[in-house]
């Protein structure tokens, strides 16, 4: 998967949840969205990207990916 595209998508999701003042709640919103709508290879790719430093991800998006569970 094109990681730049996935980073942009994750950031777009985070931009919606960033309206939430509590950043932990915002990150949980993003994590839940990724776990419900992203296909496993997309989740694997973004987790791997964060493992390599997560360049380009906003803080909320990065926090969400870090909390994603293992992908089958």
């Amino acid at each position: 998967m094109d990681i730049e595209r996935l980073v942009a998508m994750a950031n777009d999701i985070a931009a919606f949840f960033d309206a939430e003042p509590d950043k932990a709640v915002a990150a949980e919103g993003v994590r839940f969205h990724l776990s419900r709508f992203w296909e496993p290879r997309m989740r694997r790719a973004i987790i791997e990207h964060v493992g390599k430093g997560g360049e380009g991800l906003t803080p909320t998006a990065r926090a969400a990916v870090e909390k994603l569970g293992p992908v089958p």
């Binding site: 094109d2 998508m9 960033d18 419900r36 296909e39 997309m42």
Partner: protein, 948 residues
């Protein structure tokens, strides 16, 4: 002219208290306000008539429907006289007969018996024969209106002709144009013997304002206005009620058949969605079904560089199945997927997603709704609890204030637009939120109170500003909210929108809309008392599409505008079965009825019924499939009834992905753009060739009935079965009704739906189950489907697609009345008479600054690509904004749209693309080649298998 076998009751229904009277000695009870004519017809005592028809208000001009009423002098007209308690009416007497004969003789002097092409269905000639009138004593040149008004027959409209010599000037066509359609294109010119029907300023029908909806043809009691198809094909031998396959209004139509093919399509007067009306597409543009471009034999090829070879069905299916098996064996189970179609039936859509989940063993299934209304599903599900519109169309007749956001109903949903305009003429107020001056902003007897002409991409800013006014000016319905909504979410949202950053004054800089207009519109909507919101793809096809849908739901909840007739949030669905394809589990994360695949209990029900283990992980969406194809992890696709290469954004990106596939199987009625990248072409069947159901924008499930045999030998659902069986997962449905039975067994909202019940009720709006056995016209009555309505904070996030010095204009896209989506159907009809090419609308200021004149070719360039269009200079678009339709592949509209998409659903941001426009000499070379090659057809070689 009536649909075959229709019993016209003469005047519309009334809704008063019951009144009992006597007609020809029979006791009749009808609602107060009913005409004597209608009451008599209901009692099977039909009174002769010519100027009356039950779709139009009474007119009282023909003087044929006279009756006698005990205690009253003279012969009152039964169409204009209302019933009264105890009234005694006689419809037959010697005196009445003498009077009627005299009147009929006068008409026959203008329209001799036997002059109509279809005398059996000419109301005048039928009446004349019933009354024993052959020739008229009054016939002659001095008294003939036609001598004074003679005009050549008007053949200009491609679908019907007007013969003034057969016209009796009853005004039914004029009134139909006004009352039914709301266009006011027809009038009666002249007086007395010189009076005649005229279109606009005495122009031809084609050149006039006529929108060719056919209401006048339907209303004409003689053969003056008549379908050309009847004149050439002959009289119909049978009639089949079915459902239109164009937009999401889902009009009920009656297909009249002559010698096995459709000779006329007429609106079903009993149709609940369309109420006896239709448009230029549904009523007339069905000829594509038998167009010479139809592909009726399966085709295969090993490589997309090869020519196609015609093969048998068995070979095509065997090859497709073997390729999918090979790919999965090599690249894994999730390396293939499928796309369902919003043009196909619910049953076909359900089967395709079942094929993908059960036979492919993956959840890589998506639908073309991805690129139109997926944000509607997300936004309404989260806020209200159900992924569907809240109202039935007739609800608009109770609306006091109508807000239309990002939609142009008169162009894209014309039959519903006619209903809406009727309510507006009665006095409902109108707010239009759109970058473009859509026709509804100002048309005959309709004018918007507010046109919030926002910059493309600023919807959320507008909805927040409207909500800001509602909240800060105390216009919220606090009792309603307290009873029906989540308090915490409301308080959080209220605090958010009340922030001055969301005020109209602050947002004026973002949206370009004067703050005073936003304030006025907000007050108008909130005070309704019934405020109804209708929206279209101008809401969903944005990077904040889902946010905007939630913002709309927030505003409706805050003002108490949900849960009863006359209010609501109603998405106007683009294609005929967008709602249905979504309902049927076409999204990669949901089974039918919008239940997530990770829900163990739901998955267990499907596994038990389908006898196979299913994946609990959501699959790829369409744009994700493209990405996966480009990285090599996705290699095979089965696409039913969808043209991704033309309809999806950033064409070069899409075609690169399609080119990377090892096996692309296309099932379609035409050799579409996507087929250029296919390895197997399976012929599809049109809506006329199969049984099934469509679900329209008001959740109405209507029957599609087979009118003619499939040209390729199989209906689409049968082809999916063949493929599934070849893959080793057996499917053995004998009729689509058996598929619907399975849908009902697995889907709570469809639990009570059967073909028998649809036949009995005419149509059913889901949910239909034990709680609502006859269906649910209005949703969220009493409480929201999710329990308490939930407000979401909807911060405005500007799209990354912004203007710059390089791309200083914003392009937005839409539809035109006579064409439909990518045009595969309508481009193959005479609708080309109205729209034969896509044009770029541009404001005069922008044109002048670039030295561009009306009709020039212009190059349109975005960061994704470029194309060339002819320009139309108009003030319908604001300075800085350009607009085009996307009905012709040679226009290349999606060469310039980008891969930007909605954050929640990946619905493409078709509505905002930064572009530059410059004058050029001619179309691009690829466009010229394509235009020269029209009409397109696949290159074929006979019977030589490339893959044996």
């Amino acid at each position: 002219m009536y649909a075959k076998d229709y019993h016209d009751l003469g005047t519309p229904a009334a809704k008063g208290e019951s009144v009992t009277l006597e007609i020809d000695g029979a006791t009749v009870t009808v609602p107060a306000g009913t005409s004597i004519m209608r009451a008599a017809a209901l009692a099977d005592r039909d009174i002769p008539k010519l100027c009356a028809t039950d779709t139009l208000k009474h007119f009282g001009s023909c003087r044929v429907c006279l009756v006698e009423i005990e205690g009253r002098k003279g012969f009152p007209a039964s169409c204009t006289t209302e019933v009264a308690a105890g009234m005694k009416v006689r419809t037959q007497s010697e005196a009445l007969e003498k009077t009627r004969r005299g009147v009929l003789e006068l008409y026959v002097s203008e329209h001799p018996v036997g002059s109509c092409p279809d005398s059996s269905r000419c109301e005048l000639e039928t009446l004349a024969k019933q009354h024993g009138i052959g020739e008229s004593r009054f016939a002659g040149p001095k008294t003939s209106r036609h001598v004074h008004t003679h005009k050549p027959v008007d053949h200009s409209n491609p679908y019907f002709r007007f013969d003034n010599d057969l016209c009796i000037v009853c005004s039914r066509c004029v009134r139909a144009c006004e009352e039914t359609q709301g266009t006011y294109a027809l009038t009666i010119e002249g007086r007395g013997l010189e009076s005649r029907v005229a279109a606009s300023q005495d122009e031809t029908f084609l050149d006039s304002e006529c929108v060719s909806c056919g209401a006048c043809v339907e209303a004409c009691p003689t053969g003056a206005l008549m379908e050309k198809s009847i004149l050439t094909a002959g009289l119909p031998q049978k009639a089949v009620a079915t459902t239109c396959a164009y937009c999401g209004v889902g009009c009920s139509l009656v297909a009249e058949v002559t010698d096995g093919t459709v000779s006329r399509m007429v609106p079903n007067r009993n149709g609940r969605a369309n109420q006896g009306h239709a448009c230029v597409k549904g009523r007339f543009a069905y000829g594509y079904a038998t167009h010479q471009d139809r592909v009726t034999r399966p085709l295969i090829r090993k490589s997309i560089a090869d020519e196609w070879t015609e093969v048998s069905w068995e070979e095509a299916i065997r090859y497709a199945a073997s390729e999918f098996k090979r790919i999965q064996a090599r690249y894994g189970r999730d390396s293939i997927g499928g796309i369902t179609s919003s043009r196909c039936t619910n049953e076909e859509t359900f089967l395709v997603q079942k094929l993908v989940r059960a036979a492919f063993g993956t959840n890589n299934v998506d639908t073309c709704a991805r690129v139109c209304h997926s944000p509607t599903g997300y936004g309404l599900k989260h806020t209200l609890g159900e992924s569907a519109g809240t109202q039935e169309f007739v609800s608009v007749q109770q609306a006091d204030v109508i807000m239309v956001i990002g939609a142009s109903p008169t162009e894209a949903h014309p039959v519903f637009a006619s209903q809406m305009k009727r309510r507006l003429r009665q006095g409902a107020r109108l707010i239009v939120v759109d970058p473009r001056a859509i026709p509804l902003v100002k048309s005959a007897h309709v004018e918007a109170d507010y046109h919030l002409r926002l910059l493309p991409g600023t919807n959320v800013a507008i909805i927040n500003a409207l909500a800001h006014v509602v909240v800060t000016e105390g216009l919220t319905k606090e009792d309603y909210i307290a009873e029906r909504c989540e308090r915490d979410s409301y308080e959080k949202w209220k605090k958010f929108v009340a922030d001055p950053i969301n005020s109209p004054e602050a947002m004026e800089k973002v949206t370009g809309v004067p703050a005073a207009d936003i304030r006025g519109a907000a007050r108008l909507y909130a005070k309704g008392p019934n405020g109804a919101i209708y929206y279209g793809l101008g809401v969903t096809e944005h990077s904040q599409g889902s946010t905007m849908v939630m913002g709309i739901a927030n505003l409706a909840m805050a003002t108490g505008n949900l849960g009863r007739e006359g209010v609501g949030v109603s998405p106007l669905r683009g294609q005929n079965n967008v709602q249905g394809s979504c309902d049927m589990g076409s999204f990669p994360h949901e089974f039918s009825g919008y239940r997530h695949v990770s829900d163990d209990s739901v998955r267990a029900q499907f596994e038990a019924m389908w006898k196979v283990q299913l994946s609990g992980e959501q699959g790829l969406r369409i744009p994700n499939m493209f990405e996966a194809a480009l990285d090599g992890s996705f290699r095979g696709m089965y696409i039913q009834g969808e043209d991704l290469a033309q309809s999806d954004p950033n064409t070069s990106h899409v075609t690169a992905a399609l080119s990377a596939l090892e096996c692309l199987v296309i099932q379609d009625i035409f050799h579409n753009e996507t087929a250029k990248f296919a390895h197997v072409f399976l012929p599809g069947s049109s809506f006329l060739e199969k049984d099934g159901t469509f679900t329209n924008a008001e959740r109405r499930i209507s029957r599609v009935r087979k009118v003619m045999e499939p040209l390729c030998g199989y209906a689409d659902w049968e082809v999916t079965m063949l493929l599934s069986n070849a893959l080793g997962y057996p499917m053995h449905y004998r009729h689509p009704s058996e598929i619907m039975d399975e849908i009902a067994a697995l889907t709570p909202t469809f639990a009570g739906v059967t073909y028998d019940k649809i036949d009995e009720l005419g149509s059913i709006q889901w949910p239909c189950n034990d709680k609502a056995p006859a269906g649910t016209p209005t949703m969220h009555v009493g409480q929201f489907v999710r329990g308490k309505g939930k407000f979401y904070v909807t911060a405005y996030v500007p799209t990354s697609e912004r203007t710059s010095s390089k791309y200083p204009l914003l392009l937005t896209t839409g539809r035109i009345l006579s064409q439909y989506n990518v045009g595969a159907q309508t481009r193959r009809t005479a609708n080309l008479a109205w729209h034969s090419e896509d044009r770029l609308e541009m404001h005069p200021h922008d044109a002048e600054a670039r030295g561009i004149e009306h009709g020039d070719w212009v190059g349109v360039t975005s960061r994704a690509g470029d194309t060339v269009l002819r320009v139309e200079i108009t003030e319908k678009v604001a300075p800085g904004v350009v607009y085009t339709t996307f009905h012709f592949p040679e226009s290349g509209a999606n060469l310039i749209t980008t891969e930007n998409s909605d954050w929640a659903t990946n619905c493409p941001e078709y509505k905002v693309t930064a572009v530059q426009v410059v004058k050029v000499a001619q179309p691009a070379s690829w466009q010229r080649r394509r235009q020269a090659a029209l009409p397109a057809s696949p290159r074929r070689r006979p019977q030589e298998s490339p893959v044996s």
